[in-house]
């Protein structure tokens, strides 16, 4: 219930904070895993802002589950904003990529999380955050 009262602006603030923290961590190569994790949560928060802005009703607990978030986003974009499906699919790929990179980063998996992966996470995070910013501005 902790997040139940979060509004669009709260999620957007979280998204901005997350991408800012991720950029700071990215500057130090030793913190690549932490940067990826922050980038994911920035994208996660941005998707919440987007969905709430488009009128989606969150679950009682206040936030959508991590494994289901991308499909919910795609459904919202296609059904509520009439975004072309190809574009909606690209948005979905961003979120899924972020999530999978975060699992590798946080789960201690030994896949090499090199600078390319950190850059990939930054780009995949910047797009949903920008989109959420645009939607909130109207």
């Amino acid at each position: 219930m902790r997040n139940a009262s979060r509004r669009t602006s709260d999620w957007l603030a979280l998204a901005r904070s997350g991408i800012g923290a991720g950029r700071g961590l990215r500057a130090n190569q030793q913190f690549g895993r932490s940067a990826d994790s922050r980038f994911y949560f920035a994208g996660y928060a941005a998707v919440h802002a987007t969905r709430l802005q488009r009128g989606s009703e969150p679950p009682v607990r206040g936030n959508w589950s991590h494994d289901a978030l991308a499909e919910h986003l795609r459904a919202t974009l296609v059904a509520r904003t009439r975004v072309h499906r190809d574009r909606a699919n690209r948005h979905l790929i961003d979120i899924v990529s972020l999530y999978n990179l975060r699992i590798i980063a946080d789960d201690g998996a030994s896949e090499t999380l090199d600078a390319d992966a950190v850059e990939q996470a930054l780009h995949a995070c910047a797009r949903p955050v920008s989109r959420a910013e645009r939607m909130v501005r109207g």
Partner: protein, 99 residues
């Protein structure tokens, strides 16, 4: 793509849809030892989420992401279903899978 109903029959069709593209990328799948967890596939919104584990964890993370995205797109294109492949951190990595 049309919304998929959550019946056992619909789930079976999704499982069938997953297997073919999976077999089209044998080298890439072998590279990371990926297995889709059939018994944990579930319907979400108008699509399906498919948890995946990797048994080989020594490759490049960005390449693994690229392969997962390619598999996902291939499955969606050929199956008429919306699919999300995600790495499942809580799965039993010793589990057997046939895809």
């Amino acid at each position: 793509m049309s919304p998929s109903e959550g019946s056992p029959e619909a789930q079976r069709r999704v499982l069938d849809a997953i297997r073919d593209p999976w077999r089209e990328y044998p080298a890439e799948v072998a590279e990371f030892g990926r297995v889709a967890l059939d018994d944990r596939i579930k319907q979400v919104a108008s699509g399906w989420t498919v948890p995946v584990i990797t048994r080989v964890q020594t490759g490049s993370a960005s390449r693994l992401i690229h392969i997962l995205n390619s598999l996902q797109e291939s499955i969606e294109t050929k199956s008429n279903h919306w699919i999300t492949l995600y790495l499942d951190p809580f799965a039993d990595t010793t589990k057997n899978g046939d895809n």
